[in-house]
């Protein structure tokens, strides 16, 4: 049974109240470290690794920004574990990516306390800077976003967030709940035994459960699912063939930033930067000879299609690829629409369970008979 603790706050004191929770966990030994979004010295909010209770004042877990996917940070911290307990405050998409990475042995969940935050969306990194300049805070964002107002003066939450059907995190030990909470309060929910112990040690307690939460989560998820399906319909109508795909990818310069930013692009070394793709002049000339012309750098569509076959089964739809693109390609809808197909084929949903096998890591003798259509 889930346990809740209420965190009430006065105006502009949300983070001050939340910092007590993290401070409590650190000073009472619930965890040895906390990875959480924190306000930087002057501007910006970044995930920071805090090991001292004295440094929790700057926490800002609800800040609508994710400059880098937290799943990649989680992998850096735990793939070769420190042996120290870390609480990680992550967005729902990051949590789902962490679940996938744990199956790929690139995240170790053993000493990890996962804390998922209710996500109403994030701004692009550059937009978040504007948001802060205009005096925006996590508090004002939570209040406006819950009323459906995420757009401010010329910018809005990312396209990925607008079509994300997972505003709340599952498969976590604890949750920071803002959805459906009354004004001036957020809730901390413990979902597992590990989470309950940590909540108890943090010293934050009491206050009952947020009454409207389930309904608020359902409503937001339904609205975003609808937006997602519309986006799928649009992109599928727009890109029906390779020619349209080539047009869409025309601004791509093969920088591979999308792959670097992707939390589930799991290869430790991408084949596209290995010797396999370091061709000789001869080879390029030969390709050019085939039709008399060769676009350079070449293999643009090859790269994106290969990435689709590699990671679309595990795509969590975080939109970091689009955020990372310096040339405005917007790969997110392409990859999400593709992921929708590949995941449906294997009845797989990334982030659903740590016990579910990765579709390309297993096989059975008597499955997918329709691929060959042959029966002995």
């Amino acid at each position: 049974m889930a346990k809740f603790a209420k965190v009430s706050f006065k105006k502009d004191e949300l983070n001050k109240e939340l910092s007590k929770f993290f401070k409590g966990m650190l000073s009472n030994g619930a965890v040895d470290a906390v990875l959480t979004p924190m306000a930087q010295a002057k501007k910006g909010v970044r995930l920071s690794l805090v090991t001292s209770a004295a440094h929790t004042a700057q926490v800002d877990p609800f800040a609508p920004v994710a400059a880098v996917s937290g799943a990649k940070i989680a992998s850096s911290l735990t793939a070769r574990p420190s042996g120290r307990k870390v609480a990680m405050v992550l967005r729902p998409c990051e949590v789902r990516a962490v679940v996938e990475l744990s199956k790929l042995k690139q995240v170790n969940l053993e000493d990890t306390l996962l804390i998922g935050m209710d996500c109403l969306g994030r701004y692009e990194n550059t937009d978040f800077a504007k948001f802060q300049e205009q005096g925006g805070t996590s508090e004002s964002f939570l209040e406006n976003a819950q009323a459906g107002k995420t757009a401010t003066n010329g910018f809005d939450i990312t396209g990925a967030c607008k079509i994300c059907e997972f505003p709340a995190a599952d498969k976590v030990d604890m949750r920071l709940c803002a959805l459906g909470a009354e004004s001036g309060a957020v809730y901390i929910e413990a979902l597992t035994e590990k989470g309950e112990q940590a909540l108890e040690k943090s010293g934050v307690k009491g206050g009952g459960a947020p009454a409207g939460r389930d309904e608020a989560v359902k409503k937001l998820a339904a609205a975003r699912t609808e937006a997602r399906d519309k986006k799928f319909t649009d992109i599928r109508a727009e890109i029906t063939n390779f020619e349209a795909l080539a047009d869409k990818l025309a601004p791509c310069v093969n920088c591979y930033n999308c792959r670097v930013a992707c939390p589930v692009c799991y290869c430790k070394e991408c084949v596209f930067v290995t010797d396999t793709f370091r061709h000789t002049g001869d080879q390029f000339m030969m390709w050019a000879d085939q039709s008399g012309i060769l676009k350079m750098p070449n293999d643009t569509m090859f790269f994106h299609l290969t990435r689709m076959t590699h990671m679309s089964l595990y795509c969590v739809g975080c939109g970091q690829c689009t955020s990372a693109c310096p040339n405005g390609v917007d790969p997110m809808p392409l990859f999400r629409a593709c992921a929708d197909k590949t995941q449906a084929r294997f009845n797989y949903q990334p982030g659903r369970s740590v016990d579910e096998e990765l579709p390309l890591a297993g096989f059975k003798a008597d499955e997918l008979v329709e691929v060959t259509g042959q029966v002995k």
Partner: protein, 142 residues
Amino acid sequence: MSEFEPQIVAFFCNWCTFTAADLAGTSRLSYPPNLKIIRVMCTGMVDPKFVIKAFLHGADGVLIGGCWPGDCHYINGNLKARRRVANLTEVLKQYGIGEDRFWLRWIAASEGTMLQEVAKDMTEKLKQLGPSPLRNLGQIAV
């Protein structure tokens, strides 16, 4: 104008389908020359990139041939290949390269006649379908 001749890139496993092709040859079973056979040790080593690259370079069809489930020389390479093919099919299908152009077939070493049939069948179907839409794209866009 001469009839359209499809180009089919065929990845055949060394132990079954390639041997079947050999058998078809020694048995004097003729099959269309549209197949460009590439011998691989196992269907399990056919990287999806091989298939994507073949299509991007204008292949009209790709045929992967391997051992029947249970007969793989490496125990389960063909089963891994089947999942990869299912996955890749979903990717390519979105842009118009469907199951009609991308085949996986089980052909045992003794099934020379089946190899002939599959080769004829695929060539015939691709003739009806016409050239791959990627042919027009050339290397300007890909």
